[in-house]
């Protein structure tokens, strides 16, 4: 295993908390302002002891931001630039229309635009987490995050955990009374075997477990991890992939067994059937440790709905209860319609265009950065609900740089730069995903602006595979601007900075072919430092991002807002940027 | 355009001996390009039990004429004139189909290729009694008739096909048989056999036969009377012997000149110079004038009326009239 992902997070002694199920209180505020985060605040849930995430004695960490600070956004009005987190907005409409076709109300249909390709909890590494997060559970879960320095972890299968001073030895105490869907009880061995399965397969997100050197069941409730280097294991254990706990009976099975529609987790739902081309069906697990109450979702149908227009029709007709991936304008009309709530919250997805450093001089790159219509796009195409990026790390994540100086759109300055460099009448190739409408529209708007200063932006749509292959094969002959989304494997800025900008001999995801020794040193140092001095690490990560801006390594367009539509007969939906597109059906409640 | 005057037919008025009497038949086709006059005033009689030959070059209107009588021209065509059957007036809307049958030129095309002979006979005769159907084939001179009922047209020879077509024609027990170039597509031996068959049928069933042919030899062999058409009008009509041995019309003469005969072997065949007139243009005077070796000044001014040359033999040519 490489050293790509060494996230060192030492010097901590955590006695962390346990949230929460059943989260029956997680409804929206009565006034309809969607304080979604309220739902996940342990205090608010208040069912069980919720010890606060303990800051280091040094007091370097800020208190977790009060979830109440999430503001309601006024439609059409751009959000204030200051908040690091784009506000979570729920445009809720009361007076929901009851549809007689809905039946008893415990059935929930999730209109899913992406194929559920791999249901193996050890190797799945794509949108499968929308299923896996409901069927399997992890030791911890990231429940709140203010995007600057700290995050709040809750225990799921772990009731509490501790680490030694240099964060190399971790001990997790497991929750009592947890059983797998096949009836066997949760044991430390099961946890160890599950993680081993991921490590042995070496697929998907296995690399995040690289620090683990040794795992041992201390007693029938406790498991100890010895790490080869300091790492925030509790954070790692909240990842979307690779850290699910599997029943001892299932952990020996192969990939095909899981993809045939078998599963055995501890989650609130059992996998009933799985047909990647049609739907994945879940049914509630009666013996779930969190217990069940009236009005909760009993059966789930995660239905493949690739056509967004169809998804829109389904949710309008109440044939589906949740979807995302609709064009942004559509949400307004959905919000106007009674019976559908629109939830728009921050995500950890960043949209940016990598500038080809081999083909474009710094002047041209700067001109491109200056010419990009940031505000026009966030205000118009996203109805004011998107925020402009400050560097590549999304502002919903720690390590982002809220004070980063970013240029304003200035076509004249861009034009001057090009004139000075003697670069007039140039043509720039903008490579984007065919069929991804926002990348296309952004390209079209940008193109119009560039045309006024004599630059021809050539929009080149290809499938991601095709353009990725092209970009990897021939940096000098490839595109000038490579547009892409990036979302974190688990919550760390290093993932963004390393993957996309670290010097690479053979280009892989560094498709701007950026290479800067100082930058490389900074982020590696930050990565190491984040184990012992997180504040210092953040400082270094920020400096690294300043280099990216100074060097015009890319056009950092915007933090993509996570927009979702959910039928308003269900309450309790929480948009958590760390688990985008995941609906925790267990937390939903029919009105 | 000068209106073409109605011409009295070869015999005016119906007589007891007439099965069919056509008076001043005019047929005009109306394609978008403008009217085409195919038949421009034809009157003729068909007598009971006779075989009437209708002669003329291709395009002179002989096929169209009888198809109009049978109601088989497109609805867009204008047909005027009158038709009598046994003295009673008859519409040209297909009413004649009740008593007449049509034998077409090409027996290969006249039979539906995807149905057996028996099935086609069945549809026409409106009986599926194999004995009856086989008898029809036998009447048409086909041996081994029962087996033929199950045969498809492509399995039969040309002669057998034409006999099958004749059997089909007989199936409706017609009084009148209109044979449109029935032998043109056949070889010489079969041709003779089929002609003999037609003669036999007339004798046996008292059928009246109209034989349309461009071949004067065929007409001479079989027909009692002959009508020669040119450009949609009757040029000459009369008993076969009269007309063919002593033609009065220069057109008939020219037609006869163009027939190869053993008697005149070695002599160069005469061909008729020029083309038949275009039906789209009005014709002033005699239609044959441009090709006529005997053309006179007055040929171009008025249409010649049919004049009796002998009793029952009429010729529509100014040569029959005293020169002005």
């Amino acid at each position: 295993m490489s050293e790509i992902k060494r996230l060192v997070f030492g010097g901590l002694l955590c006695v962390a908390t346990v949230a929460v199920p059943p989260l029956t209180a997680c409804s929206r505020d009565a006034d309809g302002s969607g304080a979604a985060n309220a739902a996940v605040e342990p205090g608010a849930a208040g069912q069980e002891t919720a010890a606060e995430f303990a800051p280091e004695p040094g007091g370097e960490f800020e208190e977790p931001a009060d979830s109440g600070s999430a503001q309601e956004d006024q439609p059409g009005e751009p959000p204030a630039a200051e908040p690091a987190v784009a506000p979570t907005t729920a445009v809720a409409s009361e007076g929901s229309r009851e549809n007689p076709r809905d039946g008893p109300g415990e059935h929930f249909v999730y209109a899913n635009p992406h194929v559920i390709g791999d249901l193996d909890p050890s190797s799945a590494f794509s949108s499968e987490h929308i299923v896996l997060q409901n069927v399997y559970e992890t030791l911890t879960r990231l429940t709140d995050h203010d995007g600057t320095t700290t995050e709040q972890l809750s225990g799921v299968l772990a009731e509490s955990w501790t680490a030694n001073d240099d964060a190399t030895v971790w001990t997790f105490t497991l929750r009592e009374g947890v059983t797998f869907h096949d009836g066997t009880a949760l044991t430390p061995q099961a946890v160890r075997d599950s993680l081993h399965r991921t490590i042995d397969l070496g697929l998907g997100a296995a690399f995040i477990l690289a620090p683990i050197e040794f795992m041992e069941a201390v007693d029938d409730r406790t498991i100890r991890f010895d790490l080869s280097y300091p790492a925030p294991l509790d954070l790692i254990m909240s990842a979307n992939f690779g850290v699910y706990v599997i029943s001892p009976n299932a952990v020996t099975q192969d990939n095909a067994w899981f993809n045939a529609g078998n599963a055995a987790g501890t989650g609130p739902y059992m996998l009933e059937s799985h047909d990647p081309a049609v739907s994945t069906r879940l049914v509630r697990y009666d013996d779930y440790w969190g217990g069940w109450s009236e009005g909760q979702v009993a059966t789930v149908d995660i239905r493949l709905t690739e056509d967004p227009v169809l998804a829109q029709q389904l949710i309008r007709n109440s044939d589906a209860h949740y979807t995302f991936n609709l064009p942004f304008d559509v949400y307004d009309s959905l919000a106007d319609r009674s019976g559908v709530d629109v939830v728009i919250g921050p995500s950890m997805i960043s949209l940016f265009g990598l500038l080809n450093t081999r083909r474009l001089s710094p002047e041209v790159r700067e001109a491109l950065v200056l010419s990009f219509p940031y505000d026009e796009i966030t205000a118009s195409l996203y109805g004011g609900r998107a925020v402009r990026s400050r560097g590549i790390v999304p502002q919903a994540m720690w390590g982002s740089h809220p004070e980063l100086e970013i240029p304003r759109t200035d076509l004249e300055a861009a034009s001057r730069l090009l004139d000075d460099a003697g670069m007039t009448d140039i043509s720039i190739i903008y490579s984007y995903d065919a069929g991804t409408i926002e990348q296309q529209q952004i390209g079209e708007v940008w193109k119009a602006g560039l045309a006024t200063i004599g630059v021809d932006l050539v929009l080149e749509p290809l499938t991601f595979d095709a353009r990725w292959a092209k970009a990897k094969a021939d940096p000098d002959g490839a595109q000038d601007v490579f547009v892409m989304f990036w979302f974190p494997t688990f919550v760390s800025p290093y993932d963004f900075l390393y993957s996309v900008f670290h010097t690479e001999e053979e280009p892989f995801f560094n498709l701007g072919y950026f290479s800067n020794g100082e930058f490389d040193t900074l982020i590696d140092e930050a990565d190491t430092l984040s184990g012992t001095d997180r504040y210092g690490a953040i400082e270094l990560f920020r400096r690294a991002q300043e280099i990216l801006v100074d060097e015009h390594a890319g056009v950092f367009m915007l933090d993509v807002p996570q927009a979702q539509a959910i039928r308003s007969e269900f309450r309790g939906f929480v948009s958590n940027p760390a688990y985008s597109q995941v609906v925790r059906f267990y937390e939903l409640h029919r009105r | 355009m000068t209106p073409e005057p109605a011409t009295p037919g070869p015999s005016s008025g119906w007589t007891m001996t007439d099965l069919l009497s056509v008076d001043d038949l005019r047929i005009t086709f109306n394609p978008p390009a403008g009217p085409v006059r195919a038949v421009r005033g034809v009157s003729l009689d068909v007598r009971h039990g006779e075989i009437l030959g209708v002669a003329g070059e291709s395009g002179c209107g002989k096929s169209v004429l009888f198809r109009a009588l049978l109601g088989m021209v497109p609805p867009s065509a204008t047909v005027t004139g009158s038709l009598r059957l046994d003295g009673a007036s008859l519409g040209m809307d297909g009413s004649l189909q009740a008593v007449a049958a049509l034998i077409q030129q090409n027996p290969g095309a006249a039979l539906n290729p995807v149905f057996t002979i028996g099935r086609q006979l069945h549809l026409v005769a409106r009986t599926d009694d194999p004995a009856v159907l086989a008898d029809l084939l036998a009447q048409a001179g086909l041996a081994d008739a029962p087996r033929l009922l199950d045969a498809y047209p492509h399995e039969l020879s040309g002669g057998m096909l034409q006999r099958s077509v004749i059997a089909l024609a007989l199936a409706r027990r017609p009084r009148l048989l209109i044979a449109d170039e029935p032998t043109t597509a056949l070889d010489a031996t079969t041709q003779a056999q089929v002609l003999d068959l037609l003669g036999e049928l007339r004798a046996r069933h008292g059928l009246t036969v109209i034989l349309i042919s461009h071949d004067l030899a065929v007409i001479r062999r079989l027909c009692d009377r002959v009508v020669v058409l040119y450009a949609g009008r009757v040029a000459e009509a009369g008993a076969t012997a009269d007309v063919l041995d002593a033609p009065g019309h220069p057109y008939t003469q020219a037609l006869l000149e163009s027939i190869p005969r053993p008697a005149v072997a070695g002599r160069e065949l005469a061909s008729i110079p020029g083309l038949i007139p275009d039906g789209r243009r009005p014709i002033a005077g005699c239609a044959f004038a441009p090709r006529c070796p005997h053309v006179r000044e007055d040929c171009r001014s008025g249409q010649p009326e049919p004049r009796p040359l002998h009793p029952g033999h009429t010729v529509a040519c100014v040569l029959m009239e005293p020169p002005p």
Partner: protein, 347 residues
């Protein structure tokens, strides 16, 4: 989207025709497979990355590249690819890692159900309508049918689908929006043809459920073949109606209905038949759009997805399947033609 209405496709020779055709069919299949291989090699893509997944690490991709023998020269890849096909080994999808044979078993019936229903609808309505369009006795009706035909062949499926879904399914709520069955409906699916399976299940409500889901996509899909069939049958009918034997039948006072519907139609069906095969091919081809729009888990979409993802094993398997289906449909049509046309049986 099959180029305009063409009537005849010449036939092969007569003697030993079937055997020769079979040999030719295999050649055609080989040709198709080769075209696929050639074109898919042009695609600037990296199958190894695809197999390893969109966010795989470089070393995972490298391992896959070795496993899949993707570094080999193109010719040797082609040969081994043909070898695998010859052994009937369809392999595993790069993208989903599922056995392709298993997917085909599910997706092919779904598409065939759709395509056959659409073709059946097109034929059952198209042939009588084509006959009526050739019948000059009812001019207005004929013109109306011809306009219907032209509209059908001019309507983009993705447009008609949208409006049918919008009005019939969303507004009026008469029919379901999409899918093959209601999510709540369950029955055993031994054949994969839900129409048949629902009948086997013995419950009328299952059958109704299947039928109600089938109506909209079939309507959308049938439009083009319907228009095509009408136009073909009409032009073949006009040809036949002008023939001597029809004139003979009319003079013989065979009733017009019999002339039109029995005598002429049987002749006209022959040229129309050959085109049915193409109609079917069109259906399969346009299926991927219809399937995407109606969330219909069929071969067309499976195929189109594979193309977009450059999922080579799936592309080749799907091409092979479609070609085999196409060739067999044409074979069946040939047999049908032999039944209808006595002239072909010779020797």
């Amino acid at each position: 989207m099959v180029p305009g209405a063409r009537t005849r496709i010449e036939r092969g020779g007569r003697g030993g025709a079937s055997l020769r055709r079979l040999a030719m069919s295999s050649l055609v299949i080989l040709g198709v497979v080769t075209i696929t291989f050639a074109v898919s090699r042009l695609v600037p893509s990296d199958p190894a990355s695809l197999y390893a997944g969109a966010r795989a690490r470089p070393e995972q991709v490298e391992r896959v590249r070795e496993d899949l023998n993707l570094g080999a020269p193109v010719m040797s890849q082609y040969v081994s690819y043909l070898g695998e096909l010859a052994r009937g080994d369809l392999g595993v999808s790069f993208a989903t890692k599922r056995p392709i044979a298993e997917d085909l078993r599910r997706f092919l019936p779904a598409t065939l159900e759709l395509a056959l229903s659409a073709t059946a609808l097109a034929v059952l309505i198209g042939i009588p309508a084509g006959v009526m369009a050739a019948d000059r006795a009812h001019r207005l009706r004929a013109v109306g049918i011809r306009l219907l035909a032209v509209t059908s062949v001019s309507m983009p499926v993705f447009w008609s689908a949208l409006f049918l879904q919008l009005f019939v399914a969303s507004k009026l709520e008469w029919l379901p929006l999409a899918g093959r069955i209601d999510p709540g409906t369950h029955f055993a699916t031994p054949t994969g043809f839900f129409l048949i399976d629902s009948v086997l299940s013995g419950s009328p409500s299952n059958f109704l459920d299947v039928v109600s889901h089938l109506i909209l996509p079939v309507l959308v899909m049938a439009a083009y073949p319907l228009g095509l069939t009408i136009r073909l049958v009409r032009s073949a009918m006009l040809e036949v109606l002008a023939s001597d034997h029809i004139e003979a039948a009319r003079v013989a006072q065979v009733p017009w209905r019999t002339v039109l519907w029995r005598l002429a139609l049987k002749n006209a069906l022959l040229p129309a038949l050959t085109v049915l095969g193409l109609t079917f091919a069109y259906s399969v081809s346009s299926a991927f759009l219809v399937e995407a729009l109606f969330a219909w888990p069929g071969l067309g979409k499976y195929f189109a997805d594979a193309i977009l993802r450059v999922d080579l094993p799936v592309i080749s398997a799907a091409v092979l399947t479609v070609t085999v289906v196409y060739v067999s449909v044409n074979l069946v049509l040939d047999l049908l033609q032999i039944r209808l046309d006595p002239r072909v049986v010779l020797s």
